[in-house]
C-alpha cells in the first residue's frame, strides 16, 4: 500500500474520490501476495498493481462501478479455478481474491 500513498494523496487533494483494491487471499500460484494494492481515481487513473497485469483492467471497471454506487464494496474473485470467477484469468492459473472499496475511512 505504501507505494500508492503519494498518488492517493494527490488525487485526494485534487478533490477526487478514490477506490482501493487489495489482494486478501490467493489460491494456487499468484503473482502478488495478500496486501498487494492498487488505487483507482474516479476518473480512471491507476496506481499500483494486484497481479502481473492480468486483471488490472477488470479491477478498474469494478472500482469505478463501486465509486459510482452501482456496486457495493465487496470481494471480487479472478481466476479460472472458481466456477463463479470472472472471465478474466491469471496466466499462472491461480485465483486471486480482491477486496474493493471506496477509500472513505
Amino acid at each position: 500500500m505504501r507505494e500508492i500513498l503519494d498518488d492517493i494523496d494527490r488525487w485526494h487533494s485534487a478533490g477526487k474520490r478514490v477506490a482501493v483494491a487489495r489482494v486478501v487471499d490467493t489460491n494456487g500460484s499468484g503473482p502478488r501476495e495478500p496486501g498487494a494494492a492498487m488505487a483507482v481515481s474516479e476518473d480512471g487513473e491507476v496506481a499500483g498493481s494486484v497481479s502481473g497485469g492480468c486483471v488490472e483492467g477488470a479491477v478498474v471497471s469494478e472500482a469505478l462501478a463501486i465509486l459510482r454506487g452501482e456496486a457495493e464494496s465487496r470481494i471480487v474473485t479472478f481466476g479460472y479455478s472458481d466456477d463463479e470467477a470472472f472471465a478474466v484469468g491469471l496466466t499462472c492459473g491461480g485465483t486471486v481474491h480482491l477486496f474493493i472499496q471506496p477509500l472513505e475511512w
Partner: protein
C-alpha cells in the same frame, strides 16, 4: 484525523501496525487500525469483535503475517459459537518494519551478501571490530556499518531481533565468532548462519562447548557451515546460497528442485 491519515503517516514512518478491514459479512468496509501497544482507531462495528480481532492482529504483526480471519459478529472464534452466527471475515494486514540482517565480519563475502539481502528487502547492518575494514566506503549498500565487538551489539540491540531476522557470522575468527554465536543464541532471531569449512565447524563446536554451548536445542539453531549446497564458489554465489537457506528455513522447505517433487508450489 481520519483513520486513513493516521494509517498513511505510520506507513511512511515505517512504524509497525495492523490495518483490519471487514471484507465480508456484517459491517463490510469498516476498518480499524491497531498499533503494537493495542491502541485502536476506528471500529469493526462491535466492541467485543474489536477486542478479539485486535488481540489476534498483534500476534499476526509479530509474525509479519497478512490474511483473512473469521469471527462471529461479537468476536466469537470457536467452531461451536460460529455455527449459528453470521461470519465476519476480517482482512488483517500487517505492516511490519523491514526484516533485519546483521552480518558479522567485514570480508569479501559480506559485500555480496549485503547486496543480495538488500534485494530481498532486509535492513542490513555490517559489524566488525576492525576499524580499517568496517567502513561505509567498502559497504555502501549496507544500511549501517558499525565498528563493534559482537558482545555490545547484542547486549544493546539484540532485543530488537525476531523470527523474521537473520544473523550471518562470516568472520572465520574464533575470538569474534564464538561471542557472536553466544549473543545470537540469546535472542529470538529466526536464522543464525556461521561460515567456515567442515573442519572449522568441528573445531568451533569444541570451542562452543568450552563456553557452555552444547545443548541440542542451541546447536539446532546454528546453520553451520552456512548456506545451501549449491556448489557455488564466488562471494555472489555464496550469498545466493545463504539467502536461499534463509528462505527455506522460514518456509520449512527442504530446498529440493521443484522438478524433483510434486504437490503445491506455494
Amino acid at each position: 484525523m481520519s483513520v486513513y491519515e493516521k494509517f498513511s503517516a505510520l506507513v511512511r514512518d515505517d512504524q509497525p501496525m495492523s490495518l483490519l478491514t471487514v471484507v465480508r459479512g456484517p459491517g463490510t468496509g469498516r476498518v480499524m487500525l491497531v498499533d503494537p501497544s493495542g491502541t485502536l482507531d476506528g471500529s469493526l462495528g462491535d466492541p467485543d469483535l474489536d477486542r478479539v480481532a485486535s488481540r489476534d492482529a498483534i500476534g499476526e504483526l509479530e509474525a509479519g503475517r497478512t490474511g483473512v480471519r473469521h469471527y462471529g459478529p461479537n468476536g466469537q472464534t470457536t467452531p461451536e459459537d460460529l455455527a449459528d452466527a453470521e461470519t465476519v471475515e476480517v482482512f488483517v494486514e500487517s505492516f511490519a518494519p523491514p526484516p533485519q540482517m546483521w552480518i558479522f565480519g567485514a570480508v569479501d563475502f559480506t559485500a555480496a551478501l549485503a547486496r543480495v539481502a538488500k534485494v530481498l528487502g532486509y535492513k542490513v547492518t555490517v559489524c566488525d571490530a576492525r576499524e580499517v575494514f568496517a567502513t561505509k566506503r567498502r559497504f555502501p549498500m549496507a544500511d549501517e556499518v558499525k565498528v563493534t565487538w559482537p558482545g555490545p551489539q547484542f547486549t544493546d540491540h539484540g532485543g530488537r531481533l525476531g523470527a523474521r531476522d537473520a544473523v550471518c557470522i562470516l568472520t572465520h575468527d574464533p575470538k569474534f565468532d564464538v561471542p557472536a554465536i553466544e549473543g545470537a543464541l540469546a535472542t529470538r532471531v529466526g536464522y543464525i548462519g556461521v561460515m567456515g569449512s567442515r573442519k572449522t565447524h568441528t573445531k568451533r563446536l569444541e570451542r562452543l562447548a568450552e563456553v557452555g554451548i552444547s545443548s541440542a536445542a542451541d546447536l539446532a539453531r546454528l546453520h553451520s557451515p552456512i548456506g545451501l549446497d549449491l556448489g557455488g564458489r564466488t562471494p555472489e554465489e555464496t550469498a545466493i546460497s545463504i539467502v536461499a537457506e534463509i528462505i527455506a528455513v522460514r518456509t520449512r522447505r527442504n530446498a529440493a528442485p521443484l522438478a524433483a517433487s510434486d504437490g503445491p508450489i506455494h
